[in-house]
């Protein structure tokens, strides 16, 4: 199967600054693929390279097996939903949506009909004759989406399209975007710094940092099996403990926890020595069958959850999350508790 977008060792330099250091990615057709990372990690640069607004400095970029390096953006069957929408202010909503079709030479009757359908799809038929400045942010966002989808691109690029919306709208749009992607069968490449967005919508996620892809995988992969410290730390909350590794065999490591207890946990290709152990806060429970001993500092009430902030006897901070169930008795600050590590709740990281 040919990939929708195939990047091989793509390097992008701006003068002396290197924004991307040899990125390789293969995005499958019909996939909802997310580029996730903090600002400045190169995710938007990568999107702009695919759209054709910038040229790659080195490497290879293919779209359905066709080499598109150096091709002008107007010649690429790729459309973009811009972060701040970039709607044409002098055109009505309908003309905005029909613009791509007009440039492709579709006749006026057909393109207006198609633009009308697209507006219907994003529930904005009533606003066809308005100008963008007369719409709310959420409505503008839908127009941008309809405009980018109208010419039926092979790949749709979305550059943090939800970042300007308020929380409720953002949550509703996540569901809608995912449905839209399934409905249209178009490959979506979604850029975001919001991990929750990434985890809820994506088929696969590429976590990026400092111009490099750190890990590619499903939401579950990157959350439960982070390959390195950056991914473990960036996705969700985690406790990182320095531990001594006794042995590593077939992806599993025997490590010595602070306090002396030995456990066996999955490892991301490390050797023996001193390494970071990632423990998810929700995989720790208060138990007499203790792997670690800690002293409670503070209990934070979060509604559905309780966060317990504590420190180990060795002094390292550790936090855990407990479901706010009726039976839970709150630990008191200063109380000494035993922490039990659930099976598979810890992972040894490569760096």
């Amino acid at each position: 199967m040919t990939a929708a977008v195939d990047l091989k060792n793509v390097v992008k330099r701006y003068g002396p600054v290197t924004a991307l250091h040899g990125v390789s990615l293969a995005i499958a057709d019909n996939e909802f693929f997310t580029l996730l990372g903090p600002s400045g990690c190169g995710k938007t640069t990568l999107l702009r390279l695919i759209a054709g607004f910038e040229d790659i400095s080195e490497g290879e970029i293919r779209l359905f097996d066709k080499d598109i390096a150096g091709l002008e953006p107007n010649l690429r069957p790729v459309n973009t939903v811009f972060q701040h929408y970039a709607l044409f202010p002098h055109m009505t909503v309908l003309d905005n949506v029909a613009f791509g079709l007009k440039m492709k030479g579709v006749d006026p009757v057909a393109r207006r009909a198609r633009a009308g359908q697209m507006l219907e799809m994003v529930h904005l038929s009533a606003f066809a004759d308005r100008f963008p400045s007369q719409l709310s942010g959420g409505q503008q966002q839908r127009v941008a989406l309809a405009r980018a989808l109208a010419p039926e691109p092979k790949v749709l690029l979305l550059d943090e399209p939800l970042s300007a919306l308020d929380l409720k709208l953002r949550q509703a749009m996540r569901v809608e975007l995912k449905q839209l992607q399934e409905q249209t069968g178009i490959t979506f490449i979604f850029v975001t710094h919001d991990q929750e967005e990434a985890l809820t919508m994506s088929d696969r996620i590429a976590v990026m940092s400092a111009g490099r892809v750190q890990q590619i995988g499903t939401a579950r992969d990157i959350y439960e099996a982070p390959e390195n410290r950056f991914v473990a730390d960036f996705i969700g909350e985690t406790n990182l403990l320095q531990v001594d590794v006794a042995a590593v065999r077939e992806g599993r490591a025997t490590v010595v926890l602070p306090g002396g207890k030995q456990i066996v946990c999955p490892a991301s290709g490390t050797s023996s020595g001193r390494h970071n152990l990632s423990i998810r806060p929700e995989r720790l429970t208060i138990s007499d069958n203790a792997d670690l001993m800690a002293t409670v500092e503070r209990v934070v009430y979060l509604g559905t959850d309780l966060q317990v902030i504590a420190h180990l006897d060795s002094g390292e901070p550790i936090s855990l999350r407990l479901q706010n169930a009726a039976r839970v008795s709150l630990p008191e600050p200063g109380q000494r508790i035993g922490l039990h590590l659930e099976e598979g709740g810890a992972r040894l990281l490569a760096d």
């Binding site: 010649l75 970039a86 044409f88 613009f99 440039m103």
Partner: protein, 305 residues
């Protein structure tokens, strides 16, 4: 309505009582410098001329009659349309339109160039554009005459390069007037377009390219419509002074390039002048300009924000 005037009726009255005196300077400036001179000119255009310049306070339509109607040498023939002045008007409008188009053709790329430089160098470019305007327009126009004349530096340079064998006569032609008007008013085109392009969101051009628009299509469909207010403002700022210009036509053009500005200028010179006629020509010119502005204002009113 925002502001301190909002609230109770007595508060409103206090506010007005306080603000009225503060408005007096503005009213004086508008009244003395704008309303009064225009009113004076309107009144003068209906007076009778005094032969050594000046006016006699007898109300008459003679000035307008002279402009539009030809009643023969002794004023006793049946009236026909007087083409002399209408031709001058027509020539002036045509020259002003050409000057405006020339300024637009050169000014738009210039403004675009400046607006797309890094922010810290834009100021320098703008400064360079405005430098010539630190010198008086009369001196610049006279210098231009020197540059363009048959034995001037331009012709001599071209001849010494062997590009031409005899001097090109530019001075005293329409072309010379064109060059003069273009040179005089180019910054009035560059600056408003610069302001519009500087505010232009270049993501719109990217969006257009993303939606299959070529560079030309992007310019035509997106850039020009979006920066149109700047272009129109520039055109008005060049067209209006070009229409009434008299330095460039006087100093660079000949008798064949006589324009409205010179016609008005002549009416107020020495003892040959005709003040009411000059005032009438100025009134007609102003009416024309107001019509242009009105058309522009209406076009703006219809456009989306």
């Amino acid at each position: 309505m925002a502001g301190p005037g909002r609230g109770t009726g007595s508060g409103d009255a206090t506010y007005r009582a306080l603000v009225r005196p503060l408005l007096i300077p503005s009213w004086l400036v508008i009244g003395i410098l704008m309303v009064l001179p225009v009113a004076l000119m309107a009144v003068y255009s209906f007076l009778t001329k005094e032969f050594r310049g000046g006016v006699i306070w007898d109300f008459t339509l003679a000035a307008y009659d002279q402009f539009f109607l030809d009643r023969g040498l002794f004023g006793d023939e049946p009236p026909r349309i007087e083409w002399t002045y209408i031709t001058i008007f027509w020539r002036s409008i045509w020259q002003a339109v050409l000057a405006t188009l020339l300024c637009l053709l050169i000014g738009f790329p210039t403004a675009w160039f400046i607006a797309t430089r890094p922010a810290r160098t834009r100021g320098i470019w703008l400064f360079l554009v405005t430098i010539p305007y630190w010198v008086n327009l009369l001196i610049r126009t006279v210098s231009l005459r020197f540059l363009l004349r048959d034995q001037g530096p331009m012709n001599e340079a071209l001849m010494s390069l062997g590009l031409i064998s005899s001097p090109i006569s530019i001075i005293n032609t329409n072309l010379a007037v064109q060059i003069g008007l273009f040179y005089s008013y180019l910054p009035f085109m560059v600056l408003p377009i610069y302001a519009a392009v500087e505010r232009y969101n270049f993501a719109l051009s990217e969006a257009a390219a993303d939606l299959y628009a070529s560079r030309w299509a992007t310019l035509r469909e997106i850039v020009l419509p979006v920066v149109k207010p700047g272009i129109i403002a520039g055109c008005i700022l060049v067209f209006i002074p070009s229409l009434g210009a008299f330095l460039a036509p006087d100093l660079l053009g000949g008798a064949k390039t006589f324009m409205i500005g010179s016609l008005i200028d002549e009416q107020f010179r020495g003892s040959q002048g005709n003040w009411p006629f000059g005032a009438a020509v100025a009134m007609i010119l102003m009416t024309l300009v107001l019509i242009v502005l009105l058309v522009y204002a209406r076009a703006q009113g219809r456009a989306p924000r």
